[in-house]
């Protein structure tokens, strides 16, 4: 074990756990939750929570008693939040931050990230299903139905840009659009659909159907309390960031070449901008019904996704070869 090796491993560990890995991610996710809630409150013409609110919520939940419902399958009930949290945090490692060549990337990481982002929904489903309470089970079933609906448009409108960039790696896509920012303009349609799909993934109004408070209390989360609930909330916060980061990397290729500090700032601004757009969207709409949501996804969002793919294919076919290595 030479010094180089030890150093290398320590750096890996730091990268994964502290910066820009888990710890940074959590801190930023909590901050994003604050931005979301505060902006939501301001849009509703009220003051809203103080800046430390998400942190206080998490600490309080962590210090609370934990309860498992009597009928629940204890193992599944406990595993779900853990797996969800781990999967989301992992996905983040593969998304380019403020530079396009990040530490872990490989040809095909796009598929991995999209897959990892599906994991939380599936685990919410399992957690809810094995809570064995009616509300949780309905919430769980709705979550899966919704997953099938938004996943296709989401994939389609990321597929388009990937085809144009001719790669399955998010980093390479980012690099490509950084070089050819004009091409990013072709993907505006995809950006819109992606934002809508992300609302679905994050289960926010108008797609908060799986946890619709007035219908099924809190959906899959109804029976969760204490630490597990804290984890679930954290997962959703992380998902927001990861989703925003994905959108930023694929559709907003600005400021990637800047020096570290400036690049970092631009990166944060981009993410927060995506968060804010999501907040505004959730503030001005009513919740759809699950059948309306599925209709919207299949009849509107999916065709738009296909259109995005076609646009990119045409662009690829007709634009000068030299641009596309």
């Amino acid at each position: 074990m030479d010094a180089q090796f030890v150093y290398q491993n320590l750096y890996d560990l730091f990268y994964m756990l502290v910066f820009p890995g888990l710890l940074f991610l959590i801190a930023f996710a909590l901050f994003a939750e604050y931005v979301d809630r505060k902006l939501h409150a301001r849009l509703q013409h009220r003051v809203g929570p103080p800046w430390f609110q998400p942190l206080a919520d998490v600490i309080k939940l962590a210090a609370k008693e934990e309860m498992t419902p009597r009928l629940a399958d204890r193992r599944m009930f406990l595993m779900a939040p853990l797996v969800a949290l781990a999967a989301t945090a992992t996905a983040f490692l593969y998304i380019p931050t403020w530079k396009s060549d990040i530490r872990y990337h490989f040809e095909g990481d796009l598929i991995l990230v999209l897959y990892m982002l599906t994991v939380p929904t599936v685990t919410f489903f399992l957690g809810g299903w094995y809570s064995r309470s009616v509300y949780s089970m309905i919430g769980a079933a709705r979550a899966v139905m919704q997953l099938f609906a938004y996943e296709v448009p989401l994939f389609l409108c990321i597929l388009g840009p990937a085809l144009l960039a001719n790669t399955w790696s998010i980093s390479k896509m980012a690099a490509f659009y950084q070089v050819h920012p004009a091409f990013a303009a072709l993907n505006i349609l995809g950006l819109g659909v992606c934002l809508v799909a992300l609302l679905g993934k994050l289960e926010r109004v108008p797609f908060d159907i799986p946890e619709a408070e007035t219908e099924i209390v809190a959906g899959s989360f109804t029976e969760y309390s204490g630490r597990l609930l804290a984890m679930l909330r954290l997962t959703i916060d992380l998902e927001t960031i990861v989703g925003a980061a994905l959108i930023a990397a694929v559709f907003l290729p600005f400021g990637l070449g800047l020096p570290a500090a400036a690049g970092f700032a631009v990166y944060l601004v981009k993410l927060l901008a995506v968060v804010c757009v999501l907040t505004v969207m959730r503030s001005i709409m009513a919740r759809l019904r699950i059948d309306q949501m599925i209709n919207l996804c299949w009849k509107v969002a999916a065709p738009l996704g296909v259109a995005q793919v076609l646009i990119d294919l045409v662009a690829k076919g007709y634009l000068p070869r030299g641009y596309l290595q």
């Binding site: 301001r42 849009l43 509703q44 013409h45 003051v47 505004v280 969207m281 503030s283 001005i284 709409m285």
Partner: protein
């Protein structure tokens, strides 16, 4: 003309304006002039007719004789419904409703108001005391259910 996001403009405008929130409790709120809050008793005016007790819908008020023509008023603030009927019923205006509304307490026993005449003016013969006590422990019959 249907469109999603009809409230967008309004909502964005609100975000730029000062919130509609009053910063209570950091900024005090003053209730309107005739708000019916906590009661106050003016012992000098009371003649002990107990009309207030008779009309109280919540059986919350007690007028207790402490001496000749001297009366104490006790109101269970946890039971009073702040209707001010007693204020209306009183022929001598010995009761008034104030604007106080911050009545929350952590313990039930603190939710109690007792307003007595100035002790220096009370010339209570010692023999009066036990009588007062017995009057106290006897719940007012005003709205006791007949068959309860």
């Amino acid at each position: 003309m249907k469109r999603p996001g009809r409230m967008l403009a309004e909502v964005l405008r609100s975000a730029l304006r000062k919130p509609a929130t009053v910063l209570y409790p950091f900024v005090k709120i003053l209730m309107p002039e005739h708000f019916r809050g906590r009661l106050h008793f003016i012992p000098e005016k009371c003649i002990g007719c107990k009309l207030c007790m008779r009309d109280c819908p919540a059986n919350a008020i007690q007028i207790i004789k402490v001496a000749d023509k001297q009366f104490r008023c006790e109101v269970d603030l946890a039971r009073c419904i702040y209707c001010a009927q007693c204020v209306d019923s009183c022929p001598r205006k010995a009761l008034e409703a104030s604007r106080e509304f911050e009545l929350a307490q952590l313990q039930r026993k603190d939710l109690f108001m007792r307003e007595s005449p100035d002790p220096s003016k009370v010339s209570a013969p010692a023999s009066e005391q036990p009588k007062t006590e017995s009057a106290k422990s006897e719940p007012a019959p005003a709205n006791k259910p007949a068959n309860g």
